[in-house]
Symmetry: C2
């Protein structure tokens, strides 16, 4: 599947089949993440892969009771080990770098026939407690992974001429 | 080109051919960005596409005199129109959402035979002044785009077992 088709086909999957994700597929997702670029090659990304049903249920509660989170066969806590370095532009590196790695996972997942959903609606302290994640580590996103049981809707997006400007802000 | 090959082939291109980027290719890059997911479909991303040589030289100075920035035929200021909404997890939406869109551009660029480089080393206030970007808008990254005149080196990355943990933090 080419890149453009994967980008078009990706959608936020909120219903999953009760079907395990093959280990070799999971490894390719994280290999895709591993190859991501990061500021000064800091590679702050760390991934805690959760398949255990009891733990997934706990994470569902920490993710504001979103039921589909617990229903997904795999939940990945996408973390950052970071010294909170801020780039010259004023942005901390770690949320950007971890997001690039996660995006690689989501597109590789499409290629593997899998679906994902980015989840920012969770209580970080509760997720850390559930997974034994040290206080200094940041949990940037949760990501559900599995075989989709739903279908994507047409994407509702702003038109290109609203988001792209030429030469100057207009 | 499939997704995994594009992820493997992508590298930070810091030398560009003196060759224009075709308009239809540029449009596919931004179409790839446009289709990205964002928190609550906020779509904060805005892109100012700069081809003018004088402006590119000014941006090079604002990017801490990194010469290759001025040498690239296209520089994209990757911006966010944002109310600074913070997700339950504690992260602001906009750096994550804009990064996803930029990552789509970088992978689509590989498919188009183009190269890119993420640049966080720039003075945001100077870039805003050069491009007439309003004070409230954030410039998250600059992205150079063009045909590569260099070649990627083997990627120096942490091994998979350092970045992936099972069930709990270890």
């Amino acid at each position: 599947m080419n890149v453009f088709d994967a980008i078009q086909a990706r959608y936020s999957v909120r219903s999953y089949k009760m079907q395990d994700v093959e280990e070799e597929k999971l490894l390719r997702l994280f290999e895709a993440a591993r190859l991501a670029p990061s500021a000064n090659n800091r590679q702050e990304w760390r991934f805690v892969v959760v398949k255990d049903a009891v733990t997934r249920q706990q994470l569902m509660h920490a993710a504001r009771e979103q039921e589909f989170v617990g229903q997904a066969p795999v939940i990945v806590a996408c973390c950052a080990v970071t010294d909170n370095h801020v780039m010259t532009c004023g942005q901390p590196c770690y949320p950007i770098d971890v997001s690039i790695a996660i995006d690689h996972i989501t597109l590789q997942a499409v290629e593997e026939g899998l679906g994902t959903c980015w989840i920012g609606a969770f209580y970080e302290d509760r997720v850390k407690k559930i997974l034994g994640i040290p206080h200094v580590v940041r949990v940037v996103e949760l990501l559900t992974v599995g075989y989709p049981a739903d279908e994507g809707l047409p994407k509702n997006r702003l038109p290109l001429n609203t988001i792209v400007m030429r030469e100057r802000w207009k």
